[in-house]
Symmetry: C2
Subunit: 248 residues, 2 copies
DNA sequence: CACCATACGTTTACGACGTATATGTACACT
DNA sequence: AGTGTACATATACGTCGTAAACGTATGGTG
């Protein structure tokens, strides 16, 4: 998972080899930040964000709640850890496919990978919106900052000046996040219900006062998908990074 | 018992105004859904989402926590109520400025108003992302559905077919939400700090491994603002609602 | 070997939380 | 005057985050 070390986790002595010994608690062996985050991520994936508590995460690892505080300064830090885990997964995802020499294609590749990772963890994805608001830029996990760095480098390669780079960066990030949240919205209610219209609880919509919405609802239940995101991304890039290999 | 409460109780001691009936609770008079939501909104605006609890909201109204359950089925419903309150404010905002006959201008007007309302309640705005994921379309507050209906009607007026309408609708919504969250992000840390770069905790950013980010950070601290949102909105509309009064 | 500092997990405790349930209380009717 | 109903309170339970104090195993040092 490639989790960074928690800087708040005291003076880190060299970690022991992964051998088991007496006093080990739980089937996972000795704790580590990565184990804690993995357990938390699994718990949230399975039971949702509201099921995440220090005690339950500890139980997941066969350990008391307080044991986790060595690896995450508190519950908020644990949530931030989930974001970190997602970005770690993004880096794996990016490493798995081939890098493109074209900055625009590369942006598309990053956007698509981000989208995939986020939708693979629908319960965690909302944290991408909320935790980012609670943590200032420079305190965000390194994986997040590296992602930002990557995107900035690409825009820079496109020949944008500082101001235009910032504007394009914002546009790209905002669009990706918006698309992710929007498509998650289309999955709410019962994800197992095959009929998308029913998934949205479409019955009981007052057709009289909301005719267009009633009519459009089945179409709205469809997700934009990576394709929709890509189309919009191109549209935004054409506007915010003009003259630099625009589509059409 | 309502009549003989402890008369020395702080905020409730002087709360009975002349002309009120005995049995009134709190300086706001009898409870109502609107009062509850207003109190909750005020509390969150002042102290943040984490300060919102049934007990504290009740205290705000001079009432026990359980009294709120008549007006909001539980804490989640209270959060949904905050979203509802925001959309109610949006409707006021829209009523305050003049409607445009041009569908595209009208979309801009709606987007700008949404942006204003959201940024006016930075602590509440994240709920626009999170609660929408917890509530299926048809169960969302009426004010939300009316907003959707308005936007759909405008796109319909632009002559889009059903599929294109849905795609454009998603794009518009996703973009607005993304812009709102992105600009809120630029306000985190210390909102009173006049220097935007410092607001982001820019000190302590490892300049070695993140050169572009370090250089771009001051620019990133600036918000896109309604202008940035408007530019992107036009770009998206040009792509998703082609041939219908495109800019340039 | 003996000794100890340190890293790591547990125990205990406290106050706040959401909310189910049962219990008043005041008002609108007859 | 009596009664049903709408409304708020009182009480209680289980869970939460986490501060503080406490063991205990480990690996480095004499």
């Amino acid at each position: 998972m490639a989790i960074e070390k928690d800087p708040s986790a005291g003076p880190t002595a060299e970690r022991r080899a992964p051998g088991r010994r007496a006093g080990d608690h739980g089937r996972y062996g000795r704790l580590s930040r990565e184990l804690v985050l993995t357990a938390a991520l699994g718990l949230v994936d399975r039971e949702g964000l509201s099921a995440l508590s220090m005690r339950r995460t500890g139980a997941e690892l066969g350990v008391e709640a307080m044991a986790l505080y060595r690896y995450a300064a508190g519950k908020d830090a644990l949530l931030d850890g989930l974001v970190e885990a997602l970005y770690a997964e993004l880096e794996e995802e990016l490493a798995a496919s081939e890098e493109s020499p074209e900055w625009r294609d590369e942006l598309h590749r990053i956007a698509a990978a981000t989208y995939r990772v986020a939708l693979a963890h629908p319960q965690v994805a909302p944290l991408l919106a909320t935790r980012m608001l609670a943590v200032p830029l420079a305190r965000r996990p390194l994986a997040v900052l590296r992602d930002h760095e990557r995107v900035l480098a690409l825009l820079n390669r496109a020949g944008l000046d500082e101001e235009a780079t910032a504007a394009a960066f914002r546009a790209v990030n905002d669009w990706i996040l918006g698309c992710i949240l929007g498509d998650l919205r289309a999955m709410v209610d019962n994800p197992d219900e095959p009929d998308p219209a029913f998934r949205l609880g479409l019955h009981r919509m007052p057709a009289r006062e909301l005719p267009r919405l009633r009519a459009a609802a089945p179409a709205l239940a469809r997700r934009a998908g990576p394709e929709g995101m890509a189309v919009g991304l191109d549209a935004l890039l054409d506007r915010f990074a003009p003259g630099a290999g625009a589509t059409e």
